[in-house]
Symmetry: C2
């Protein structure tokens, strides 16, 4: 019986070398695997570009040293190349990879109708998204999402080193946190349930447990607007912190998080930054303006009438960013003290003027990327505000339990990972920075 | 106009000290904040336990040095304590924290009906979960989820350092990946959509892009069974790797990931391990048994008739783990080569016996915590298997695009974070290791 038991010892044997390590193998013969990204035929030799985990590696094919026919290779075949790494000063990387043999592991069944192995995928956004599994194979397209990994990792590293605990809250919920009509319903074993618009209730409850918490996970908005900045599902970066003495501490924390993340990207994602020719914004300090002052500044500077005293028009957000950049050099701006009417029921009002909240948005390059603020922590105050808004206390029992049995003064924020990535990369449309976007017209792939 | 612009510089001013740093302040007066966890009155003084971010700190109240009345303090009030840190050899931590003053930041409105500041919360599972926002404040309850943070962080650290890219795939999908009836439906702007049972399709598509990918995120199963091991929403740890030459490489990778994570916990979560009195399992190597052999081994050892040749009964999983532990000392066991009939349409069959798949489960202390295996990467082979199963190719266009235009041999796995945490902590019920569980009877809090 014992001889039927095998052993798995967790030893990972690398039969091939990593693209990033080729340099140390100069003068040797190596095996390297990847997908054939592009074959570029020259007069008496060919360049064969191999797409590896993170970089595209250039190999050289020539009859004099390659023991196979070039036409055995097809783009998007997955192969193991046996190659000699030859010192070559003329090559950018300092060596040349001479293909000796090739093992073909798999071959595509068809050639993609979308050309994706040029510098950029030259097609409509529609096509780019319809053919995502293929278009993401483009070197620059995939670099966007490698960088997005880095943004989230930078945030996480900062938050964990500042005493925030990462949590996993449920996405199927009995009540939406943000109110309004943009909530997805689902049938939950005969009960009506919803998809979480944010982890708001849960992170507030968890402030009573861990003091500082964060979550990076999917949030859902049944947004019917088909705009360049809305998604129906996106990745929310949410944090919440207790024991604040002022809501500006949340803004300080976010500013520090952004600074830290820019550094993290420069250190760990230099490959992608170089490929995308991306210069990260320098963040020294972020200007902050009160909502009503911001409205007036834009009105004066651009000679626009203020039509809505309770919210920004998208155009105003753009103009404000333009104005602030001119005046301060910053591409970020905090707008604070939004009107109470436009903020959710858990927002803390300014005790000096209850018409406005101790809240903020962060705008970046013309777009709101964060909403945050101080929350109500007192049970009676929260009940009172809910009563005023005609909300039913009994629908929020679990949430209010946190307040009832004691919560510290606290606040937090939510940042849209895709929006931030898009703006960082200079995209007009947030879909360009969304792996598989969901919108009113798109449910696949 | 300029004087309306404030500056946020990202400097985080700590007005209070961290509990973990108290030792360096011996001989000084410090301010420390937290929630009053417990007041323990003695004859002429009192111990006041302060719950901070990660630890519970003991303060001493006595009339001789405390400039306030003890009855100003209530359990679950949030406070800033001004205290003198006095060297005290008799104290476990080497110092005593003498309360001088206290600022009360917030007070609870009511006393919790559930006592949560004892060593353990002594109540039913039902109550424990109904009062989650309060019961999680118990020192040991919250340590479970701090440790769960560490498990996920350990996995992530391992995967990122092994060239896996973290992705964010959509949870609202047009087709379920795992088949069967346990899928939640929702109305997506008039179209029928589903909640993802796993990121399976997306991670396979992304193997064509990044070669190695992972995701740690919510997965949804409309499971009607109300058992100790099923949840309707849980945190899936999913990875997928390309260029495998054998499916055992996936098992090696998981074994290495588990080893690494145990080390990570020992280094970074020693506080919680000590509090929970938890000794982590030692993983040297993990035994692996073929499914059919495992069935026979259990049948022989326990004199049980084999009733189902296609799947395990839960009791058999328990007995197998017991048997393997007796024979090898390991609390983990891989079971391989599950029957094709019981595995999804994307599972790669054994070319030597198409009745079985190149797949595995990982059992730990009697429970399946991982399902994985090699996937079909060839387009025609995948179409053929779908045809045999009566599946409609046109429903899976986006997914099949990856195969059609070229995919390397690959495989991966999914691990349930809550199940793993539960078994690691020795819980019978997975809900004990789930922050806010969702099951057929539970949608709140």
């Amino acid at each position: 019986m014992e001889n039927k038991i095998n052993r798995i010892n967790g030893i990972i044997e690398n039969m091939t070398v990593d693209a990033e390590e080729l340099k140390v193998h100069i003068g040797k013969t190596v095996r390297i695997h990847g997908s054939i990204y592009k074959i570029r035929k020259m007069s008496d030799f060919a360049f064969v570009l191999l797409r590896t985990k993170r970089t595209v590696v250039q190999c050289v094919y020539a009859k004099e040293f390659s023991n196979f026919e070039l036409d055995e290779l097809a783009e998007e075949s997955c192969v193991i190349v046996t190659a000699e790494v030859i010192q070559e000063e003329r090559a950018k990387v300092g060596y040349e990879l001479r293909m000796i043999e090739v093992d073909i592991l798999s071959e595509p069944s068809e050639v993609s109708p979308i050309v994706m192995n040029q510098k950029k995928v030259d097609t409509s956004l529609e096509n780019l998204l319809d053919y995502r599994p293929v278009t993401l194979r483009n070197e620059k397209e995939r670099a966007i999402f490698k960088l997005q990994e880095g943004i989230a990792a930078g945030f996480r590293q900062f938050l964990m080193s500042n005493g925030f605990t990462e949590i996993h809250s449920p996405k199927i919920v009995a009540e939406g946190a943000e109110g309004g009509a943009n909530i997805f319903k689902l049938d939950y074993f005969g009960k009506e349930a919803y998809l979480a618009q944010s982890p708001q209730f849960y992170k507030q409850m968890m402030v009573g447990v861990f003091e500082r918490v964060f979550e990076i996970s999917s949030v859902f908005r049944a947004e019917k607007h088909d705009t360049s900045r809305h998604l129906n599902e996106y990745t929310g970066v949410d944090f919440e912190m207790g024991y604040i003495s002022d809501f500006t501490e949340i803004m300080e924390m976010e500013t520090a998080m952004l600074k830290n993340t820019m550094k993290y990207l420069e250190e760990k994602y230099a490959l992608e930054l170089a490929l995308l020719k991306l210069k990260l914004p320098e963040i020294e300090e972020i200007p902050s303006v009160k909502f009503i002052d911001a409205k007036q500044m834009v009105s004066e500077a651009y000679n626009r009438e203020i039509r809505d005293y309770e919210d920004f028009e998208p155009e105003e957000e753009k103009l404000l960013c333009e104005l602030i950049q001119k005046k301060t050099g910053s591409e970020f701006v905090f707008v604070t003290h939004y009107p109470s009417k436009k903020r959710p029921f858990y927002a803390m009002e300014n005790p000096e003027n209850i018409e406005e909240t101790l809240s903020f948005d962060l705008l970046f390059r013309g777009l709101e990327i964060t909403t945050g603020g101080q929350r109500i922590h007192n049970y009676e105050m929260q009940l009172e505000k809910m009563r005023k808004r005609g909300m039913k206390q009994e629908h929020f029992e679990g949430y209010l339990m946190a307040h009832k049995y004691g919560l510290p003064p606290h606040g937090g924020l939510g940042l849209g990972l895709e929006r931030f990535t898009a703006k960082l990369l200079g995209f007009e449309n947030v879909r360009n920075a969304t792996l598989f976007p969901r919108d009113i017209n798109r449910l696949v792939p």
